[in-house]
């Protein structure tokens, strides 16, 4: 079948180094992947096209890029699945949220420095046993789900927080951190959670689901970040905006059956946090002007007692 690729090109050495789209016409078949197309271009049509790729089996993590605006591995994205119906080209661009080097190649240095920041190695306590550490198979299988992360950076590319705050540790590094916190052999949970609970850590995720959506290996980075939040709060790390926000949220719903939006930011930031309180004033004014101010007096909804019972049941179960 006739397929058009429109590829974002960038040559840092050219005199006017700006990125532009270049179109290529290919003849591919039903089982061809986007990577097959790119390799054909690179080897037969235009040898100046640069991209990283290696295994072609979704295991080396080299070929994450944006295809029609969404991050994914070129090697396991079938052309037929992303081919626009109207005959327009498949748009291929480098991964986002990382500095562009050339064509489809981005600089992974920030990615790895964040992974390295979570102390990504096992820290067992005490003397090593002569044989293996004993560990339940279910725990290991659970970790295998995180270990299957191939560090391709698709989640980082499309993370909506990283797009506005480059200091966020990001989904890949946090999933990696979970891999150790969740490991029964690791004995450094306390320090790990303390660090992850800090600035740029687990509480900066906005739960947009984008990382879950684009992960080619089903790692569920956001789910791991949420699990880390649970573990941090259980371990007593409650003194963050995020932890207070989570608590205020559930307290409100438990108490009245719905969310008290007026109290939520106050409880999250803390009433004595004068700077934050002042910072909320413009938001309050905008809400008022747009008719979106929450009621001053928060009343319980009918049947709130039933909601409370649900909470009791769930909490007792835990």
């Amino acid at each position: 079948m006739e397929v058009k690729f429109s590829i974002r090109r960038y040559d840092p050495e050219s005199s006017n180094a700006v990125s532009h789209f270049q179109e290529y016409q290919l003849d591919l078949n039903d089982s061809s992947t986007v990577l097959d197309g790119l390799i054909e271009i690179r080897e037969e049509i235009d040898g100046t096209l640069s991209l990283r790729c290696s295994c072609r089996s979704a295991i080396c993590g080299s070929c994450a890029m944006r295809i029609n605006g969404q991050a994914g591995l070129a090697c396991n994205t079938k052309v037929i699945d992303v081919l626009p119906k109207d005959g327009s080209p498949i748009i291929v661009e480098p991964a986002g949220n990382l500095p562009l080097i050339k064509d489809l190649i981005v600089d992974f240095a920030p990615f790895w420095s964040k992974v390295n920041a979570v102390d990504p190695w096992l820290k067992p306590e005490g003397e090593e046993p002569e044989e293996e550490y004993l560990a339940p198979n279910e725990d290991m299988l659970h970790l295998a789900g995180v270990m299957s992360c191939i560090m391709c950076g698709a989640c980082v590319s499309d993370c909506t927080v990283l797009a506005v705050d480059e200091n966020f540790l990001g989904p890949a590094a946090l999933a990696k951190a979970y891999r150790f916190v969740g490991d029964p052999r690791d004995d450094d949970d306390d320090n790990r959670l303390k660090m992850l609970n800090g600035n740029n850590g687990i509480w900066d995720c906005t739960r947009c689901m984008q990382c879950v959506e684009v992960c080619p290996k089903g790692v569920d980075p956001m789910g791991r970040i949420m699990a880390l939040r649970d573990k941090a709060m259980t371990a007593g790390y409650n003194n963050t905006n995020g932890a207070r926000h989570a608590k205020a949220f559930s307290d409100s719903v438990k108490h009245s059956g719905w969310l008290d939006e007026l109290q939520l930011p106050i409880k999250s930031f803390g009433i004595f946090n004068i700077k934050a309180m002042i910072g909320l004033i413009p938001l309050g004014i905008r809400a008022q002007l747009n008719g979106k101010r929450p009621p001053i007096f928060h009343k319980s909804i009918p049947g709130a007692d039933k909601v409370r019972k649900i909470f009791d049941k769930v909490e007792n179960k835990i």
Binding site: E43, C55, I59, K102, A144
Partner: protein
């Protein structure tokens, strides 16, 4: 100029294991890799790693015998003994470093069955064992603070005063050429799969290490021994792990018959790889295949087990062949997967070139002989990676640097400039396609003299065409086309040594099956073929195999 005690080329399992072992010896170590370490092809190993643990009622001697029989008695038994004896220690070390592994009911490491072995002794992490181990070793490299030249390409080895004294490197992100001086150099660059098309190997597996070593006079051994894996996916040629058969999968022909019951009544689908690949090819050639394939059937294993232990290959089937193995059998065929041969190395990784070591797939120790058992390659990388790293570090303590300078960089610069100056014409892509097709046609599961000679002639022709190969990209930053063109030259050397060695071995043994000489010939061929460069020519020599305890017998599965 950079300077290190031990310079390791390649950052897969062998390279990183060597780096850790050398670092533990307290010397200055650096690793060079043309890709980020976790992108290395070790990560693609799926099924597991073999070890005979005594507390599981297993014995390393049984593992050794299975390996020897698997090698069709071409493996060196002293080296195989070392590998099998040290296997348990190595697996446990990886577990202690953080590798997760599937467990049994008691929480101890669990095993699965693998081909050609009488015991279930393959330790595994679902079906991505290689990736799990690779990432753990990378974690340890970070922890130990080992210097990694990430995305640096090795252009040549430096020989001075009769010893290997370093390498000339190209930083891919800038095109900068740099000399790295070293007291010991360890090749851990992996295999050469891309010489064949198709191959299960990654695009980076271009035989660089074998080409580099060959050019400085190191002999390559057992190069005729090329493994075709029995279950590669129709179409893309992606690998479907032996773990599928380890968990109980059937192989079926077009009539729906489990043909392995006939060929290998005892081991059935779990006979050694060369045997299963041959049987598949025989079925296909006899017209009992489907579109050049046979079928891999796991439906009877049930969705739960498939998801838990074969999840990745289920995904591969869905992604690359539109088949969900839970509901349908998957079309598979033998596909080039591994080279048993490589740079001749002893049990400490030392090659006949002073200062030069080799470990992992690039090396030939020879523990795999004529046919490697599944899950012995990860073991090989770790055991001989560690031994090489330790030996190279220890040796470097008693050595001073050879007196070399940047002139080596200048020589490479001139060579690359001349390559870039070639006038417009054929690029590496066409050469690679032609080479791969030739190898896959004539040096595959079944071989014969006429075909192999035809291949050798074709390789000679490609070698000529390479002299005027055109590099369309003239930039410095990430000039991947230039890199592939340099790799192409390594691949031509590899192909030539494979073809010459294969023509020379006038018998059928292991993966080397000749239609014109179907019998194994123990009288004349219990020896390795070594090929080394001799000016513009090559020379062959021979080395008797080492037999310690196990005399060659008829091989049946």
């Amino acid at each position: 100029m950079q300077s290190h005690d031990v310079l390791i080329l390649g950052a897969g399992l062998a390279g990183m294991r060597a780096a850790l072992a050398a670092t533990e010896e307290g010397v200055d170590v650096a690793v060079v890799s043309k890709v980020h370490p976790v992108r290395s092809h070790s990560g693609a190993a799926q099924g597991g790693i073999n070890a005979a643990l005594t507390d599981r009622g297993d014995d390393w001697k049984d593992h050794a015998y299975d390996t020897i029989k698997g090698s069709d008695f071409l493996g060196d038994q002293d080296a195989i003994e070392i590998m099998c004896r040290e296997a348990g220690e190595e697996v446990i070390a990886m577990e202690h470093m953080g590798a997760i592994f599937n467990r049994d009911e008691e929480g101890k490491l669990g095993t699965r069955s693998f081909g050609g072995q009488r015991q279930a002794r393959t330790f595994f992490v679902a079906d991505f064992t290689g990736q799990a181990l690779l990432h753990v070793l990378y974690e340890q490299i970070i922890k130990a603070g080992v210097r990694v030249y990430e995305e640096w390409f090795v252009v040549s080895l430096i020989m001075e005063d009769g010893k290997c004294s370093g390498a000339v490197l190209m930083e891919i992100s800038s095109g900068h050429i740099e000399v790295a001086r070293a007291k010991s150099v360890i090749l851990a660059t992996g295999g050469l799969g891309r010489v064949f098309e198709p191959s299960t190997n990654a695009l980076i597996c271009t035989g660089d290490g074998m080409g580099l070593a060959y050019r400085v006079g190191a002999p390559l051994m057992d190069m005729e021994m090329v493994q075709y894996h029995p279950t590669t996916l129709k179409g893309s040629g992606a690998l479907l792990s032996e773990a599928a058969r380890g968990e109980g999968a059937y192989l079926l022909n077009s009539k729906g018959e489990r043909f392995m019951l006939e060929y290998a009544p005892e081991f059935k689908e779990l006979a050694s790889r060369d045997v299963v690949s041959r049987c598949e090819q025989t079925e296909i050639n006899a017209g009992r295949g489907i579109d050049g394939c046979v079928l891999l059937d796991v439906r009877h294993l049930g969705e739960k087990l498939i998801n838990e232990r074969l999840g990745q290959i289920r995904e591969l089937g869905i992604d690359f062949a539109n088949v969900d193995m839970v509901t349908d059998p998957v079309p598979v065929r033998p596909g080039m997967h591994y080279i048993m041969g490589g740079v001749k190395a002893d049990v400490d990784g030392l090659t006949p070139v002073p200062g030069l070591y080799a470990a992992g797939e690039v090396a030939c120790v020879s523990v795999h002989g004529g046919n490697r058992l599944g899950a012995n390659s990860l073991l090989d990388t770790l055991v001989f990676g560690r031994r090489s790293g330790r030996h190279a570090a220890e040796a470097s303590k008693h050595m001073s640097h050879t007196n070399i300078n940047d002139s080596y960089a200048n020589a490479v610069k001139i060579q690359l400039e001349s390559l870039l100056d070639n006038p417009k014409g054929e690029t590496f892509g066409q050469l690679r396609t032609d080479l791969g097709a030739t190898m896959n046609q004539h040096l595959a599961v079944y071989r014969n003299e006429t075909g192999m000679k035809e291949a050798l002639a074709k390789i000679g022709e490609i070698k000529q065409r390479y002299k005027s190969v055109y590099v369309p990209d003239k930039t410095k930053i990430f000039n991947t086309n230039l890199m592939f063109t340099i790799e192409m030259n390594f691949m031509i050397d590899c192909a030539e040594t494979i073809a010459i060695s294969a023509i020379d071995r006038t018998e059928s043994r292991g993966a080397h099956t000749r239609e014109d000489m179907p019998e194994r010939d123990d009288e004349n061929w219990l020896k390795h073929i070594l090929i080394s460069k001799d000016g513009d020519q090559h020379k062959l020599s021979y080395k008797d195999i080492v037999i310690t305890n196990w005399e060659p017998t008829v091989r049946q599965y």
